[in-house]
Symmetry: C2
Subunit: 283 residues, 2 copies
């Protein structure tokens, strides 16, 4: 072995089972999800659905309890049929991961062994790097109730532990797959953390907003709302704070101008005294 | 209103429905999850279960299709019964969020309005800050197929959009709740991204490892494995690289010493020639 090669010899060469996995997609595309001894076919379908949401496509099943295929899985898959169609079945973990360079196992509790344990988020980062380097990774998920055994985990070079509420950890299989798929996807998702959506909308300029505020204050003066002289600066400032804090579209601003116009017109038409000072003006 | 107050007036004061929400827990503890027109009671139960995993406890239902309570929800809740027991029902969104200071709505697609849109991760960060400030936040999830309507979203001051695979977005209600609960939890989870678990295990020192390697190389020399003089330095270096890259416990090291001893003894007892050079020594 040359220096720099991965130290674990190919498991296929150890077991004599070369060529165990006939991949439908080239290596390095995305990690392989391996369900170890899954109990219920509905959960396999739900797991496939979770995978699709996060951009994971390769599914392998190790000794599924009820055999494979199981029609009920497709009913739960909600469009992730292709993943189920391509799913491969193996009798044990070594044969399922024979062509993989890295094997990570999910487990809820720390193990009494020396092995690197990552959060799901850190694992996703590593998986992206592994993928980019052209290496193939597998992620093992254990059976619904028991999880992976110590022997199962001995097939792994890394563990993944989801940090979640220790007072109530009841992640089901599909949810566990969902979280990892979500972290895998978001590890390279370019959506900015926060945006203002301005498709097809024109934001009014601050100049237009100031013009509106000037008009509003004039009308309020005219109807006596801002009569209490010593409070006027505070009330005007409050209105400005509130109004200028957000963004207003040009269309919305036209609407607001219309509101002011109509209220003012209504007052003049009715010829009545201004309404009593509203409660919120009383500071 | 004093400067710095949240600009949206209490919806309760607008609708005249004060005191709509009688909270079981003090404000600021954790955000309220609001399921708007949920269709299937199983999904309500599954959502409660997802909430519990991520440390969210307050559930409100707006106009559940089949009414409330529904026994099947408890069957899906897997120990999150308390959340369902305390769930409150409202006829519409304004009454459900009357006591909240912030309302965030989940939606899969960008909307043609000006409103801050956050990823789930950014939303979780904001929710933690909002919580720490003693403000109450609600997160709205829409009905299973249709999602929140434009009118529903008009009750929100912020939108949440999960970045996921646009070619296959089929997040079900419980999964959507799960992701947010997971982000909420991990936003303040102290688990380090990566650890080596060393409970009750003693890692061998480099000195012990060197001593073992020296012994191994001596035995290999004695049996002629490293005979090819010009290759010896490379092979020894490969062995050192591989062996020293990981960590070994003291117990494991004792085992390895035993392996070397037994192999050496077996060779001497059998008095046979050394085995032919194995394939991996051929570089």
């Amino acid at each position: 072995m040359g220096s720099g090669e991965i130290p674990f010899p190919s498991l296929a060469s150890l077991t004599g089972r070369e060529g165990g996995a006939d991949l439908a997609a080239p290596p390095g595309e995305s990690p392989v999800v391996v369900l170890v001894r899954p109990q219920m076919a509905e959960n396999i379908g739900a797991a496939a659905r979770a995978m699709a949401n996060g951009g994971l496509f390769h599914l392998r099943l190790v000794a599924p309890r009820d055999g494979w295929p199981q029609a009920v899985a497709w009913r739960m898959a909600s469009g992730a049929d292709r993943i189920l169609d391509a799913a491969e079945v193996f009798p044990d973990i070594p044969s399922a991961v024979a062509d993989c360079h890295r094997v990570m196992g999910t487990c809820p509790r720390p193990r009494h062994v020396i092995i690197e344990t990552l959060t799901a988020r850190a694992a996703a980062g590593d998986l992206r790097a592994i993928n980019a380097e052209g290496q193939r990774a597998a992620i093992l998920f254990g059976p619904e109730r028991a999880g992976l055994t110590a022997d199962d985990l001995a097939c792994c070079d890394t563990l993944i532990r989801y940090p979640l509420n220790p007072a109530h950890m009841s992640l089901n299989l599909a949810q566990a797959v969902m979280i990892l798929a979500y972290e895998w996807w978001t590890a390279e998702e370019p959506t900015p953390a926060r945006v203002f959506v301005t498709n097809e909308t024109h934001v009014a300029t601050k100049g237009s907003l100031e013009a509106f505020l000037d008009r509003l204050v004039s009308e309020l003066d005219a109807c006596g709302f801002l009569e209490t002289a010593h409070k006027r600066p505070l009330m005007v400032r409050n209105l400005r704070h509130w109004f200028l804090r957000g963004q207003v579209t040009e269309q919305e601003l036209r609407t607001l101008h219309g509101v002011v116009t109509e209220l003012a017109r209504g007052r003049m038409v009715r010829g009545r005294k201004p309404d009593p000072t509203p409660p919120w003006a009383d500071e």
